[in-house]
Amino acid sequence: MAKMNMIQALNSAMDIAMGRDTSVVVLGQDVGFFGGVFRVTDGLQRKYGEHRVLDTPIAEGGIIAAAIGMGVNGLRPVAEVQFADYVYPAYDQIVSELARLRYRSAGDFHAPVTVRMPCGGGIRGGQTHSQSPEVLFAHVCGLKVAIPSNPYDAKGLLIGAIEDDDPVILLEPKRLYNGPFDGDPNKPAVPWGTHPKGEVPADHYTVPFGRAEIVRAGQQVTIIAYGTMVHVAAAAAQSLQLDAEIIDVRSLVPLDVDTLCNSVCKTGRCVIAHEATRFAGFGAELAATVMEHCFWNLEAPIQRVAGWNTPYPHAFEWEYFPGQARIALALRAVMEPR
């Protein structure tokens, strides 16, 4: 075991995957010599050469298209989109090509591409460096979508993604790169070093897709969250001294319906939290799924906590961010007796 922050864990994942399989290549803006704007690919080009760690033009659509072609020709590309907010020029290549190549060719062609992208707010990024577009990928048939909330899962999911023959979208909450975050920007930053999930095996392992994790077992209420909100929700439940069961979804597609719904059937109460805007967000899918499976066990309407239905404003970052206060209101609402 080693102590790693999420950046080091992701870097270790690519290092291990590249070391084990010469077909793994990394490409993206600034990923090579410089090692990425968040340092996630630091040192990889030095170690594996400039043919396997490619600096690319600023062309997200070109990056994903090239990765698809490489994947068809036997490589396992890991493409970095520098910010999730920049992925939209590549959306056609991801939705119409990457996601559907296996289907449209009846399995005769596929491209095992992993697309990594930092997402989420809380770093003073304004409306172009803070978005959480996970639902835009979860809605597309043929993509696996995952969002880690800690270094251990980040490494295991990324190795799993690279080794997976299906395309994977890995969204990395950048506010969590250097430490867990409970939603209070005024507190001093906490590093991963003291967090149990900052203990990361130095070697190869995977975290399987389609498995949620029960981060904290509890009896009174189920909180379903992913990414940064796992930590914010845990802190809010603790402040209210609720015995909450906190579930980290981790893998949005495939979705671990059983773990989510067994928990809600047990507690009878459910709060869903994500940072992305609320309307037609992934929380709507989660809420509908829980309702279909747990309706007769529910003691109160499901509550959704999310970013407002506005772009992410620079000046009002923390008023936009679904922090502990917003989660606490939802928890109180769901705990009210009938």
Binding site: R52, A65, G69, M70, G71, V72, S105, G107
Partner: protein, 414 residues
């Protein structure tokens, strides 16, 4: 001198009811464009990017530095492939009109673009076709029955009923899956070629798109990545003048040739008479030789004309003169190669008619077999369960559940 800005909206020289006018077309006499070495700098291709590379002259003789000096036997194979492609197209349109196919797209008048290029490449080269490159399927020897089963979405459909007609593929023949979204395959071909170079393999990639689709960002990504990484790829723009009703001027063809986009990126550009089998073959070989020897990619514009409708859902008489196809100054690729072979003493009208009859019978027999495996309206149908497969490599739980739901739905009609 105007005193304010004015919006310029390109328009074709003739609309329905007006006499066809191709005076906008920049032509060069056969043999007039020089042929730089395939190892040259892109700077030496400024003339080839704006002139028109032609080999066959008006007397049906091969002339000039681009003459590939093919054997008559090879030319006869080319003629056979082009004629088969055309007869296949004719028959499939008839089938569509009879309600047997939902949709079809002919390549009439553009057969040389695919057939000559396909013959100039090696079987291990990976082809990323657009939807009007059926000649590539023919050159690579795809059985007609197999193509027809795809068109019919029947039980032998290589796509298992998931694609619109003409979106063929063959992993074995190195023919990539055709996408209905335009130009997406262009930068993918570059990625494939980059991988070949990364792995140190000898094969190259080639891809095709229409001049209308060069407006897509994907086209520009492809040129950029091909130039930046010197990827071994041939990027072909089939300039058939019309993108449904949109004239090539609206895609930017009025200001400069499409081939000239190559030198702008530091790639060689070749502007080629796309209805001249020999010119297409020679240009493709030039670009392939360059790619195979580390010279990187080439942009080839094939100047041709979409003689038929865009698809069976299109009626070109609504937007262009009815007799425009007959007035196209670069003629018909099959007729031109036929006349060349006759001029060489290697072909005759009688042999042509015999070949035509033989190929037509081949197409007819293939159709009789293909429909046995089902049509849209009768015969066997694909298993509905296939709908849920290949979304992912393994069938996930949620799709297993949906497959059960569909079975239940079919078992309990309203």
């Amino acid at each position: 001198m105007p005193t304010r800005s004015r919006l310029h909206v390109p328009a074709p020289p003739a609309r329905p009811g007006q006499p066809p006018d191709f005076s906008y077309l920049q032509l060069s006499p056969a043999g007039a464009v020089s042929r730089p070495e395939s190892t040259c700098s892109w700077r030496e291709t400024m003339a080839t990017a704006t002139g028109l590379i032609r080999v066959l002259d008006d007397g049906h003789r091969a002339t000039g530095p681009w003459n590939p000096r093919l054997e008559a036997a090879d030319l006869q194979v080319g003629l056979r492939h082009m004629l088969l492609t055309r007869l296949f197209d004719e028959r499939m349109v008839r089938s569509q009109r009879q309600g047997k196919l939902s949709f079809y797209m002919k390549s009439t008048g553009e057969e040389a673009v695919s057939v000559a290029a396909g013959m100039a490449l090696q079987p291990g080269d990976m082809l990323f076709p657009a939807y009007r490159n059926q000649g590539l399927q023919v050159v690579r020897g795809r059985p007609l029955v197999e193509l027809m089963c795809q068109l019919l979405s029947n039980t032998r459909d290589m796509c298992k009923g998931r694609q619109l007609p003409v979106m063929y593929h063959s992993a074995a023949a190195n023919l990539f899956s055709i996408s209905g979204n335009l130009a997406t395959q262009f930068p993918q071909a570059v990625g494939w070629a980059m991988a070949a170079a990364i792995k140190g393999e000898e094969h190259i990639a080639a891809t095709w798109t229409g001049e209308g689709s060069t407006a897509e960002a994907d086209f520009h990504y492809a040129l950029l990545f091909a130039a930046v990484y010197r990827a071994p790829v041939i990027l072909n723009v089939v300039n058939n003048q019309w993108a449904i009703s949109t004239f090539q001027g609206t895609a930017g063809g009025e200001q400069n040739s499409f081939a000239a986009r190559g030198p702008a990126h530091g790639l060689p550009g070749l502007r080629v008479d796309g209805n001249d089998f020999l010119a297409v073959y020679a240009a493709t070989r030039w670009a392939a030789d360059r790619a195979r020897t580390g010279g990187g990619g080439t942009l080839i514009e094939l100047v041709t004309y979409r003689a038929a409708a865009h698809s069976t859902s299109d009626d070109p008489s609504r937007y262009r003169p009815k007799n425009e196809p007959e007035c196209w100054p670069l003629g018909d690729p099959i007729e031109r190669l036929k006349q060349h072979l006759i001029a060489l003493g290697e072909w005759s009208d009688a042999r042509h008619a015999a070949l035509s009859g033989e190929l037509d019978a081949q197409v007819g027999a293939a159709w009789q077999e293909a429909v046995k495996y089902g049509t849209m309206t009768e015969g066997p149908r694909l298993d509905r369960d296939l709908m849920f497969e290949d979304v992912f490599k393994e069938l996930p739980e949620h799709l297993r559940r949906e497959r059960e739901l569909l079975r239940a739905e079919l078992a309990a009609p309203v």
